[in-house]
Structures are given as C-alpha cells and as structure tokens.
C-alpha cells in the first residue's frame, strides 16, 4: 500500500448467520473476490477485486450476500468528486488512457424523460389492441417516389430491397469477440423468432449463424474483419459502420487476449493479435467516397441488399444525414452519445457526441425539408430503454430503433460496466469458455423474446391510446408529443410544443 492505493469502491457484506460456506460465490466469481479459509472454515473476501456485477448475490442460495458502495470516501467536494480524483490517481499511477465500458453514465439530460405522449379523450376514440387489429410491422429501405407501369398498364415493381420487421425494434451491433458465442446465438435465435434483426457487429459472422441470415444484418467497419463475398450475401442487409455513439471519431481495439479460437477464425486474423479498427475508413474522405463504398457493396451483392450507413450523433448531424441520404444508402442508423460499448476511452464516451433525441429530430426535419426523407429509413439507437422510448422515437421521426443495452440486460447483464476486462461473470462480454457456458442460449433467447413481446404489446397500447393503429401513422407525428420542463430552444429542435399547449 502507498500513494498508489485506492480504497475499494465496493464492500462485500456477508451475513455469517446465513452463510453455509457452500462456496458457490467463490466458484462464480471470475474476479476471485471470494476465498475460502480452510483453517477457520469461513468465507473471506478481497473486495478490491469486486466490480459489483451481483453474480454472487444472485446465486447465493441463502441470500447471505450483498454488495454495497464503500463509505470510505474522500472529503466531499462538488467540484473534485470522488470519481474525478480517483481517475487522476489511476492515470498518475499508470500513464494510461482511461478505458470504460457500456454507455455514458453521467447525468446529462435524458430527453425521453422530458417528453410526454398524447392520448385520445372524447373525440377521435382510442383503440383497444386486444380487440382491434394493430399494425406494428415496418419496412426499412428506400421508398419509390413514383408509380411505374409497363406498356400494358400493369404495375412495375420498382421497390428496392427492404428489411421487414414485425415491430420497429432491432438488436444493434455487438461483435462476436466483444460478446460471447452464446450471447450472439441468443440474439440470433430471438431475432428469428420475433421476425426482427440482430447485427453481427464488425467481427464477422460465425459459421454456425449463417442459418439465421434472414434476420441478420452484417456489418462492414473500417477494419473489415471477416468481410468476404459469402458474408456480404449472408444477411438481409449490410451496415457500413462509420461511427459509434459511445466513441464518435475513434476506432476500436479488441485486445489480442480476446482474439482466441473461433473469434480469431471468424475475424480471419491470427490468435493473440490486436484487432484494430482504424478511426476512419481510409477510403472515405467525402460523401462521394462513401457513395463508392455503398455501391461497391451493392455491386458485390447484385443490388439484393439494402445498405445501412451507421454514424454517431454529433454536431451538424442533420447535414451529415443529408449527405448520407444522397450517397445511395437505403437506411441511416444514428447512434446517440449514450450508446453502449464493450470498451471506449472514458473521456470520449463521457464528453463526445450529442443526445439521440435531438439528433433524430434534427435529421428527420432536415430530410423532410429537403424532400428526401423517403429516400432513406432512419434507425436510431443510443439508450432506448423501454417501449415508451420507442414510441417517442417513432413519433419524432424514426422508422425503427436499435437496442443493445436493454437486450444485454435481458440476458443477465447487471451493468457493472467492466466489459473491457473480459471477465463477465454473466457469460456475455467474455471469451472464457467456463464463463460463456453460464449463458444458456435457449433461456437467453426466451428472455429476449419475452422482453420484445412485452414491448410490442405496450407499443400497441400506447398507439391505441392515441387512436393510432399503425406505426406508419405514428411516424413523424410530433403532434402526439409534448415537452415538459425544457426550454424554447430544446422544444424548437425537437419540433414539439410544451405540455399544456
């Protein structure tokens, strides 16, 4: 101990009256917090290793455990908070860039929580989704702006390829490597069952998952890992990843320690080598260049797959979206600054980018103003937490939402935010076979299906309450939204009135 010592953030509270020294906690903790003292026949704990993932708490058969925040605090200071000071200690000790995971945890405004949804009263009767049909299906892709007929007057099919979804939600990109085989399998199985899509992320597609192709979006990122002709044709759409909400403007480094076995084979790089995705695509410096990548992918797949371009929500996002819409992309995916990640530099995650609510409203308006809204679909992500967030997003102009953190929570994630260590006790963000097998894909997929089925029903109820019976009618219907406790400028950007108006 010395100047580099930082007192543990959490304490392990063990009720010795309840503890039966069954040693489940010891076996379950990959961080090796719990130790059995053979001499005194008691369980001990090294709380300095605890990340508060709650695995031991959940599996203790006698509820003898709890993890609490340590009350050993530095002297309170509203400017120099505990966290800020400890980060300085860490950097002074190591000289390293601070690395975090999952979405921005800081207390920035959450606009979803400042928007309220309308309901019908007296006029325009509400609809009971249990009694009347409700349409939650959406199609993503460019919509033709005119009807074409042949010489005989028959309708010509001039529709470009579309993604069909049973509800306006998809599982967003998480690479095989950042999450486990069983996590990917759970997402793929659930997506197939639900009639929605999951996204491979940039780590390639494991050979076992080609069977889920119809419900798979394959991603092409700057590292181009696992990208080849068969992969491009395997899914129902191709996503070009330009950016990610948690780390706009920078690339990704999957450490060599996670490039093992199947991950190495799927990414097509040797075991143990770092998988480096450069910050930019080095062949894209302009919208024209983006257009080139979009069309090279269309050519390689013979115009059978819609192309998604995913960007992080940043300043001037509306102009960027307008450019993407003109690049030939079929779908624009925008990821807000609260989006999750397996690892991102803390400073970037917590300070770069803008809230998705503002980005979405700005992009939808811009594309409408320019008369090109129907050339593209808009998919948004970056902390969609519930069905009401989905409904608000659709009313602000989204065609569909990407969810990832919510999906991981359904799989057992307890948001301890230490994915970057690769020791996920819930078998999600790890490649350790002993940990991976803790996540059963049958159970995982069932829980995802449960969550989405519940959301779908809630979406129908919220729509029914407004007297709306299809997503198509809700999309961009900002009259259904009101702001609460936000200023004129925020209302103007969101394009909504204040509650009471």
């Amino acid at each position: 101990m010395g100047v580099e010592f930082i007192y543990p953030e959490f304490e392990v509270i063990r009720n010795t009256n309840r503890c039966i020294t069954c040693r489940v906690c010891e076996r379950q903790c990959a961080n090796e917090v719990h130790i059995y003292d053979d001499e005194n026949k008691v369980m001990l704990a090294d709380e300095s290793k605890c990340v508060n993932c709650q695995r031991c708490v959940s599996l203790c058969p006698t509820r003898a455990l709890k993890i609490v925040k340590s009350d050993c605090r530095l002297r309170e200071n509203a400017n120099w908070t505990d966290g800020t000071i400890k980060e300085i200690y860490k950097q002074a000790n190591s000289g390293g860039v601070l690395l975090s995971s999952m979405g921005n945890p800081n207390s920035f405004p959450v606009y979803w929580d400042k928007i309220l949804i309308n309901a019908s009263q007296v006029t325009n009767p509400s609809i009971d989704p249990l009694r009347e049909p409700m349409e939650t299906k959406v199609f993503l892709g460019k919509k033709p702006s005119f009807i074409e007929r042949d010489k005989k007057g028959n309708l010509k099919n001039n529709l470009t390829p579309q993604i069909e979804l049973s509800m306006p939600v998809m599982f967003s990109a998480m690479s095989y490597g950042s999450i486990s085989y069983n996590a990917h399998k759970s997402l793929a199985m659930a997506a197939e069952n639900l009639g929605i899509c999951y996204n491979t992320g940039e780590g390639g597609l494991h050979e076992d998952f080609y069977v889920y192709g119809k419900n798979t979006i394959v991603q092409v990122a700057s590292g181009r890992f696992g990208v080849h002709e068969k992969y491009l044709n395997a899914g129902c759409a191709i996503e070009i990843k330009m950016g990610q909400g948690a780390k706009p403007g920078i690339g990704g480094h999957l450490p060599g320690t996670k490039i093992v076995g199947d991950v190495s084979r799927t990414r097509m790089i040797p075991e143990g080598t770092d998988a480096i995705s450069p910050a930019p695509h080095h062949d894209i410096y302009s919208i024209e260049d983006l257009r080139q990548l979009v069309y090279s992918l269309k050519e390689a797949t013979n115009y059978k797959k819609p192309i998604i371009v995913k960007v992080a929500a940043v300043h001037n996002i509306a102009a960027i979206a307008s450019g993407i819409a003109r690049s030939g992309a079929d779908i624009i995916a925008i990821d807000g600054f609260r989006g999750g990640t397996g690892a991102a530099p803390t400073r970037i995650r917590d300070n770069v980018g803008i809230p998705i609510e503002l980005a979405l409203a700005a992009c939808d308006k811009r594309l409408r103003d320019e008369g090109i809204r129907n050339n593209v679909s808009l998919v948004i992500g970056g902390s969609i937490r519930s069905s009401s967030d989905v409904v608000k997003a659709v009313a602000l102009g989204a065609d569909a939402c990407y969810v990832a953190t919510a999906a991981l929570l359904a799989l057992g994630c307890h948001l301890c935010r230490t994915c970057q260590t690769g020791k996920c006790n819930w078998g999600i963000a790890t490649q350790n076979p002993e940990l991976v097998k803790r996540l059963n894909p049958e159970i995982g997929s069932k829980r995802l299906i449960n969550l989405m089925t519940a959301w779908k029903h809630e979406i129908k109820e919220l729509m029914g309450g407004m007297g709306i019976n299809s997503i198509e009618t809700l999309r961009g219907n900002r009259l259904m939204l009101r702001g609460i406790g936000i200023n004129e400028k925020e209302l103007e950007i969101l394009g909504i009135s204040h509650a009471g108006e």
Partner: protein, 239 residues
C-alpha cells in the same frame, strides 16, 4: 470467350454483362466504369483501357488483367484471386485484402496495402514494380507488400510508411537509409534466407512483366516487420 465493348455501358450494365459472360471475358474501350467484377469468382477478365475506382472489390477468386492504368481502391477487401496491372494504380490499393495477389508494373498511389491482413494459409500479397506513395502499409496486420522501385531514381516510398503496422511483412528494394519509419518496427537488411520467402513473388513479377530478375536481385533489400502484435496494450488503464 465473351468480348464486351465497355464503351456502351455504365458500371451497372457492364457488371451485369460480366456476371453473365463466359468464364473468359475481354472488355475493350473501358473508361472509368467502377466496381468492375466486384465479388466475382471463376472468371478470367482482361480489361483494355482504364477501369474506374474499386476494381475487383471483394474479389473472390477471379483473375483480372488490366492493359492500362487502374484508379483508386483496386482489390478493396479482396478475398482471393489475382489482379495484374500493366500500368500504375491509384490510392488505397488492396485495402484490407486478406487473400490473393495484386501485381503492378508501375507505381502505386497513397495508402497501398492499408490494413492488409492474413489468416492461416491465406496470405495476400501486393507487388509494386515502381514506387509507392505515402502511408504504405498503414495498419498492416498481415500479408506481404513488396516494392521494387524499378526505373526510379528518387525515393522508393513516400512519407510515413508502416504507421500502426502490427502484422505481416514489407520488403523494399532499397537500403532505406532515407526512409523514416515509426517506432515498434524491426527494420533490417534482408538476408538470403529472407529473400527465399519472397522469391516466388519476385519471380512471378518478372514472368508477368518480362523484367530481368538478376538485375532486380542485384540490390539491397530491406525487410520491415512489427515487433509487437499488440501495439496498444500498454496504452490503457481500466476505469
């Protein structure tokens, strides 16, 4: 053999024609059409003229010969096959290619071989007869890049070669005394044993372009490899 007069078609129609052509296919009067033979396998294509950007992107086994120059992004994310250019090529050739080979008689633009990778028996190669522009082999993660610097009196490569290199090998036909490399690389004069590994590529280059192998070999060669495959390991602290 199918012969196509490319003059009559834009890239969409031209690529459709190529997809439907016989195995051996010749394009005449090619002028700037992009994405030619993207993702194709089982074709042998000869192009007379100048193909546009992204020639042979995602190429999956087809063989392409260009009697002329090629533009940017030749062999982007190429998986297998062969591209032979009897001229110069533009920027970002062989971006992220993971298999097959590209032979260029003349010079290459910026960022040739950026982020090339390899996996087991799939080792891609780019052989450039002339000189290469700046950022050669940036982020190189695997594969082989050879620059011969024939008929060039000035520097064989531009600025900042091998930035972020963490795999693969680069061979430059020069003593590289005037070339500045970044840290974390091993830069050595190639030994006879090293040269054995590259022999098949140099021999193939000579066969294709009728170059004098003896003359080529009678020169200093420098071999560049990374000395760590985890360049960012020490950069982070868990927070």
């Amino acid at each position: 053999m199918t012969t196509i007069n490319a003059k009559d078609y834009d890239y969409i129609d031209l690529n459709n024609k190529i997809r439907k052509s016989e195995k051996v296919c010749e394009l005449n009067n090619c002028l700037g059409q992009r994405f030619i033979s993207a993702g194709l396998k089982n074709k042998i294509i000869t192009i007379n003229g100048t193909p546009g950007n992204a020639l042979g992107a995602y190429l999956n086994g087809a063989e392409i010969t260009v009697n002329g120059n090629a533009q940017d992004a030749v062999g982007d994310t190429m998986n297998d096959g062969k591209i032979v250019i009897y001229g110069n090529i533009g920027d970002a050739a062989g971006y992220a290619m993971r298999g097959g080979s590209i032979y260029v008689k003349g010079n290459a633009g910026y960022r040739a071989g950026i982020h090339m990778k390899e996996y087991k028996e799939k080792i891609p190669a780019i052989v450039i007869g002339g000189k290469a522009g700046s950022f050669l082999g940036e982020y190189q993660a695997g594969g082989i890049i050879i620059v011969l610097g024939l008929e060039n009196s000035d520097e064989i490569v531009g600025n900042f070669p091998c930035t972020g290199m963490h795999g693969g090998k680069m061979l430059l036909r020069s003593d590289c005394k005037n070339v500045r490399f970044p840290e974390n690389l091993s830069v050595k004069a190639a030994t006879d044993k090293d040269m054995e590994e590259f022999d098949k590529y140099i021999s193939e280059f000579c066969r294709l372009f009728g170059a004098d192998k003896e003359k080529i070999m009678n020169s200093a060669f420098t071999i560049i490899t990374p000395d760590t495959k985890n360049p960012y390991k020490q950069m982070y602290v868990m927070n």
